[in-house]
Symmetry: C2
Subunit: 140 residues, 2 copies
DNA sequence: ATCTTAATGGATATGTATATCTATTATCGA
DNA sequence: TCGATAATAGATATACATATCCATTAAGAT
């Protein structure tokens, strides 16, 4: 449903948001979120390039949020991590110029739109502050 | 969002439903739905094994629906084609026994559930009969 | 019986996502 | 200036989804 990469990115940004005062190294994030370190580094690079996080090299370096968690949507994170959720723009069979999608692809695209909207609404701060009895990332 | 395989399977079952009177060969279906023939054969095999379609070898053979289109949901097709849409059952970090998911995975799982429900509601007959101005599969 | 048609099953190829490794570059502290 | 830390970049490895190919099996037509 969402890629492994996107799931890792979400964990990382949530963890950074939970520890906003000091930069978190890829090593730290990887350990706490159970993500392979080398792979997480790549993902953090993507998020830095997308402007979600700021990276800092050297001692005391690591990653911090580039803007308030309230202003980062889940969709932002998924889009930064890998290819953004793709709406169906035109008929995948590509036969001819249609005004709209056929019912089959309309149904699928509507579902995609629902997800996209839900992830656009949700921001990281709300996620981190929300309490449903379990702290985000399942830490104790 | 849905795999290429699932998209192909949907096209195939819709095409069969549009031509219910005679068995459709993999060759015919592949041509009309723009799916690679060899690959479609594999997908049709899966759908036959799942009991969605009945296969018949030899001259005049091909594939027919195993039950009325009304009784085949889009979710049935997706599940038969490849791994079913996976809900998040427990914390992917697997740290400890929790009563429920943390807010992060709750959000993602809710989105998955929405999709699953939408695809469970939708049946193939409605899809084939629905007219939004464009015939299913974008044929003219 | 034999020929043709068409699904089946197994092996193989290709592409993309996931993951690892290493050398390099930047930054800090002493 | 030097050593340690940590991100960056590029190359490589692995797994899985997608796709092709071919020999085999089943069924109908003659």
């Amino acid at each position: 449903m969402i890629s492994q990469t996107a799931e890792y990115a979400l964990r990382a940004i949530v963890y950074i948001s939970q520890n906003p005062d000091v930069a978190q190294t890829a090593q730290q994030i990887a350990g706490k979120t159970h993500v392979p370190k080398g792979y997480l580094s790549k993902i953090m690079q993507s998020m830095a390039r997308s402007g979600l996080v700021v990276s800092q090299r050297g001692l005391g370096g690591g990653f911090t949020l580039a803007r308030p968690a309230k202003e980062i949507s889940v969709l932002d994170v998924l889009s930064a991590a890998d290819a953004p959720i793709q709406r169906i723009q035109r008929c995948p069979l590509g036969i001819k110029s249609h005004a709209g999608l056929c019912p089959v692809h309309r149904l699928v695209d509507d579902a995609i739109k629902q997800i996209e909207d839900a992830f656009r609404q949700a921001n990281i701060e709300d996620l981190v502050n929300s309490t449903n009895g379990v702290k985000p990332l399942c830490e104790e």
